[in-house]
């Protein structure tokens, strides 16, 4: 298993600003994932982050809005840029084990006013 921490756990931000969310894993992993979970809804994959290469974004998500860094095998950041109230959500990072299950961080609850 893997233990994942995220910072911050929650934040309230003003429209037009940016927030960077950090994700730290207690072991080295190849792929890290970033999800968005809007209240009462399922998880939507934003992007997959591999160390040493550009992140792969899902349809509807773009690098300018959600830039991702992956400087090493235990750490990643997701920035939510030029925020609007529609970006209010829970942002989750996860990693995938060798047997394909995922381990999730506790999430970052973002409110944009």
């Amino acid at each position: 298993s893997a233990v994942i921490s995220q910072k911050p756990s929650r934040d309230i931000c003003q429209r037009g600003t940016s927030l960077t969310i950090q994700c730290q894993v207690d072991s080295q992993v190849t792929m890290m994932f970033w999800y968005r979970q809007q209240p009462g809804q399922s998880l939507t994959l934003i992007a997959t982050a591999n160390q040493g290469s550009e992140a792969t974004y899902e349809s509807g998500f773009v690098i300018d809005k959600f830039p991702i860094s992956r400087p090493n095998l235990t750490f990643s950041t997701l920035t939510v840029s030029n925020m609007s109230p529609e970006d209010s959500s829970i942002y989750l990072c996860s990693v995938e084990a060798d047997t394909y299950e995922q381990y999730f961080g506790p999430g970052t609850r973002l409110t944009v006013t």
């Binding site: 809804q41 399922s42 998880l43 994959l45 997959t48 989750l92 996860s94 995938e96 047997t99 394909y100 299950e101 995922q102 381990y103 999730f104 961080g105 506790p106 999430g107």
Partner: protein
């Protein structure tokens, strides 16, 4: 293409009653199947998984699920629920990538 359908958005049940949360999937490739649970204000955690072998898999907290290839289903069951089982349950399918169902909110009443 892959898809996951959780047939019930909410399931209310009385404590100590049995429960079944339904999940159907479609995929053009072989898949691995998972159930995750999300307790209020917490992250997701793995309940159980099916990779291969026996079609009945057991997970944590007394949950089990049965893989039915012909019906492309992976329903989650528990013979007797507790108040503490109140949570959101997500079915997930891993083919080319992992896709999550919309979730089923299990609400256990005293």
């Amino acid at each position: 293409a892959q898809s996951v359908t959780q047939l019930d958005s909410q399931v209310p049940v009385f404590e100590e009653a049995p429960v079944e949360l339904r999940c159907n999937y479609s995929s053009s490739v072989s898949v691995y199947l998972f159930w995750y649970v999300q307790y209020p204000n917490q992250g997701l955690q793995l309940l159980l998984k099916y990779l291969s072998g026996s079609t009945l898999v057991k997970g944590i907290n007394g949950f089990e699920a049965e893989f039915n290839k012909s019906q492309t289903s992976f329903h989650l069951r528990k013979p007797s629920v507790h108040i503490s089982d109140t949570a959101e349950y997500f079915c997930a399918v891993r083919g080319f990538k992992t896709i999550f169902g919309a979730g089923t909110r299990l609400f256990v009443k005293a």
